[in-house]
């Protein structure tokens, strides 16, 4: 009986945790997220070696910064690539963005490879 009583405690906590989780806000890809996904699809062809991802630099939804994460061990014209990102971003409706090309490699830190403020 004592063991059963003890088991009830995690059951209570689990039940309330379920209620807690049920009130969380599920992730939805909004218009801005759709645009960044589209941008990635445009940038990816021919650049597979960059192992690239594109997203907002912060969780702030009104952010105008775009972070393009690439593999920095690849030799590339990062400044020219930033220009391309800027051009394509404008093309998908992401205007006047601040583009940050960030490189990851062997360490856990990102290196800023190029920055471009789109006109």
């Amino acid at each position: 009986m004592k063991f059963i009583k003890l088991l009830i405690l995690p059951a209570i906590l689990a039940l309330y945790m379920l209620f807690f989780m049920a009130t969380s806000v599920p992730y939805k890809c909004d218009a801005d997220c759709e645009n960044t996904n589209r941008l990635l699809e445009i940038l990816r062809p021919g650049r597979d070696t960059l192992q690239m991802s594109v997203g907002r630099c912060s969780y702030n939804r009104v952010s105008d910064t775009l972070c393009v994460i690439v593999n920095k061990n690849v030799t590339w014209d990062w400044s020219g690539f930033a220009d391309t990102v800027c051009l394509q971003a404008t093309g998908v409706g992401l205007r006047q963005q601040k583009i940050f090309i960030l490189g990851y490699g062997t360490t856990s830190y990102y290196d800023t490879l190029a920055v471009k403020f789109c006109p």
């Binding site: 009583k5 003890l6 009830i8 405690l9 209570i12 906590l13 309330y16 209620f19 807690f20 989780m21 049920a22 009130t23 969380s24 806000v25 599920p26 992730y27 969780y59």
Partner: protein
């Protein structure tokens, strides 16, 4: 302790109230995602203003915390042994459930008022049961 009474009034009712508030006045939870389709105009009931915000955002946390505390106090009474600093553990759990939103999950938003409501509910629930239900 009248377990049936405490479970109904202190556990079930606040939990139902909190769930109802969520369902009626909010529009962005996992519950809505599962229960309503995209054509449903949410929130089901619109409310604006400071009081409305308290009802929409702090009251569900208050209800959840109130109910959880009651459930734990019922369990402790049923357990039958003294547990030192029991209220402190409860406060740690409810405060932790708010504070964890600062770091781990993207689907939640931390608000200091939620934390205050949750801790207040825990203390209130605990002392109400101690005072009126345990003889």
């Amino acid at each position: 302790m009248n377990y049936r009474r405490v479970l109904f009034c202190y556990c079930l009712l606040p939990l139902l109230a909190g769930t109802l508030i969520y369902l009626l006045f909010r529009n962005d939870s996992w519950l809505h995602d599962r229960l309503f389709d995209q054509d449903t105009r949410l929130p089901l009931l619109g409310m604006e203003g400071m009081i409305a915000d308290i009802v929409k955002y702090q009251l569900p946390d208050f209800c959840w915390s109130f109910s959880l505390t009651a459930a734990l106090v019922v369990w402790k009474n049923w357990w039958g042994r003294p547990i030192p600093f029991f209220l402190l553990y409860i406060i740690l759990i409810v405060a932790g459930s708010e504070l964890i939103q600062l770091s781990v999950f993207n689907g939640f938003t931390f608000d200091i008022r939620d934390l205050f409501a949750a801790v207040l509910a825990a203390v209130l629930s605990f002392f109400l049961i101690i005072k009126y239900e345990i003889h």
